[in-house]
Amino acid sequence: MKKIIELKNISKAFDGETVLDGISLDIHDNEFITLLGPSGCGKTTTLRIIGGFEYPDEGDVIFMGERINDVPPHKRHVNTVFQKYALFPHLNVFENVAFPLRERKVPKKEIQEKVEQMLKMVMLSGFADRRVNSLSGGQQQRVAIARALVNEPKVLLLDEPLGALDLKLRKDMQQELKKIQKNTGITFIFVTHDQEEALSMSDTIVVMSEGKIQQIGSPTDIYNEPVNAFVADFIGESNIVDGVMLADYRVSFAGHTFNCLDTGFGKNEPVDVVIRPEDVDIVPPEKGMLCGTVTSVTFMGVHNEAIVDIRGFKWMIQTTDPVEEGAYIGITLEPDAIHIMKKSKYSGMFGDYSSFSNELDELSNPDEGEEA
């Protein structure tokens, strides 16, 4: 696949505070790429640098082989769907979509055709004369997409475009966006803090934290092979335990030695061990590799979510079997349930569920992804 955008070692600071710290990233033609991370991680700034609204302090932005650091937004072949849509309130739906065409002095007849075609694509035919303020959130979203696509950009930037929609609508729009991306063949660069959204839509996910790229990969790579504790914790649920790599395929943690599939670590190297909650099997205590007491059980619909105290470390375990609070249980781990990561600066910060509650989780992951 052809590279369409290259970011080379980009840094950016606002008022002396580093927001981006040496970001390098290749974006390919026809790709759905997602910048994922908590608020303040620099994902929106990266997007704004590509859009031309911010300029990097250091590094280069290359667009189809050309350096575009100093090209203003209106001369770039990229368009943006803004977080709160940024529809022009003084114009109706038709005129909003026609806005970029009129700016380019496209003949009237062609404008008519193109706008109608776009509105049809986003399923808003018949809404042309409506005022944008009279539309629902989902409809405004579609107008914003139509407006951004009418210029046939090479790349579409989407800044948390689904953040303002309710859950059901969000799911529908995810499908629809993916469909539009497939049909038009335009590269989508999508910014979100919602890991589920990222996993379900993207070809490539770029996980960011503190102005740095933590990992780039396909959704399955990122989920199955996180590179460090931050990524493991941010994408899905994980138990992250301190361990020691005894030899290739042998790791010791929680007072027990396990077989695993990982190689290439030094002898007796301290490591982080990731175990996804759904990969843990519950067995009677006498058969368990590890044993512990269930401290709480939450019914989640499809499965039960149990917090189990194993030698003072709280594990999260998802199981479809019934479990009871206070029960003493054993667990077993298959070799492919164990993923080993090198120690990083995030070691020890994540992956312990001792203070876990769903509510806290939501609080620490606020819905607005706004960055400077």
Partner: protein
């Protein structure tokens, strides 16, 4: 920031602001300096503090009610009188205006609109004419006495009294009191009142403990907007006070007409300074006690 377009745009914005910056420097700040300059110079523009001293020391004889005369410090007396009348007018405006602002804020949407318009209509009329109308009404041969005369009541003498001046001030500046209070009260969340009731407040108690404290910013801006023009007026006292109640504004205007620009400037300078101090204290007190400090 070494971002090329950002600085270029910032340049455009600064250019847009430039005419106004220059304008307000030349025609707002420099003229204020001229007040000070004139206040501290004599006719040949050499430095003197005489104008300022004159404000504090000039004396004249005032005829008292019993016919005897008393020596008074002319301008201090005038200033205190201005302050007293302005404060009385402001309080009267507040007492009359607060209830109507509250009634307006609680009225239906349509009634609110109509009432706001009605309050504003007199504001749109020239205040000279408004004052003039009261002159007609209050004159010894005016409407009030005309009506009283029909009932055989002997005419009352209002024009040329302090009461007439206060009526004029209240009438002219009343809307300035009502509108700021109204706009705060209208925005007040009805849920707060319900909450207060829910927590056991009676109607009066809701007013005293919830509505009034929340409306204080409006009350204060209303009071400022009435106090400042009242304290500095010269037309109202001339027309309704028959020129008998010289106010600080009259003093300035009189010196201007007599072409004593330096002394006029000195009075204006002192008035400005006093108001500045007063307003600063008020601002400090409000931010400290009304908004609970910073």
């Amino acid at each position: 920031m070494k971002t090329s377009r950002n600085t270029q745009m910032a340049g455009t914005y600064r250019a847009a602001l430039a005419p106004y910056s220059v304008w307000s420097f030349l025609f707002v700040l420099v003229p204020l300096i001229f007040i000070a300059y004139y206040a501290f110079t004599d006719n040949s523009f050499s430095f003197t503090t005489e104008n300022i001293t004159r404000f504090f020391t000039a004396t004249s004889n005032m005829v008292q009610e019993d016919g005897s005369t008393r020596e008074v410090r002319t301008y201090l007396l005038i200033f205190m009188r201005s302050l007293r009348l302005a404060v009385i007018s402001t309080l009267v405006c507040l007492l009359m205006g607060y209830p109507i602002a509250y009634i307006m804020a609680r009225a239906g949407e349509k009634a609110q609109k109509t009432m706001v318009t009605l309050i504003m209509i007199p504001m749109w009329m020239n205040f000279l004419i408004r004052t003039y109308a009261w002159m007609t009404i209050l004159q010894d041969t005016g409407i009030i006495n005309g009506i009283l005369g029909k009932f055989g009541i002997s005419p009352i003498h209002i024009i040329g009294t302090e009461t007439a001046v206060i009526i004029g001030m209240v009438y002219d500046y009343f809307p300035y009191m009502v509108l700021p209070i109204y706009s705060i009260l209208a925005k007040l969340d009805g849920k707060l009142l319900e909450a207060a009731r829910d927590l056991g407040c009676g109607t009066l108690s809701v007013l005293r403990r919830v509505v009034f404290p929340l409306s204080l910013p409006g009350v204060i801006s209303g009071m400022t907007m009435v106090l400042i023009p009242s304290i500095s007026t010269f037309y109202i006292s001339q027309k309704l006070g028959n020129g008998k109640f010289f106010l600080i504004g009259d003093a300035i205007e009189g010196q201007y007409v007599a072409n004593n620009l330096h002394f006029a400037a000195a009075i204006a300078f002192i008035l400005m300074l006093i108001l500045l101090v007063g307003m600063t204290v008020m601002k400090y007190v409000t931010t400290r006690y009304v908004y609970g400090g910073e």
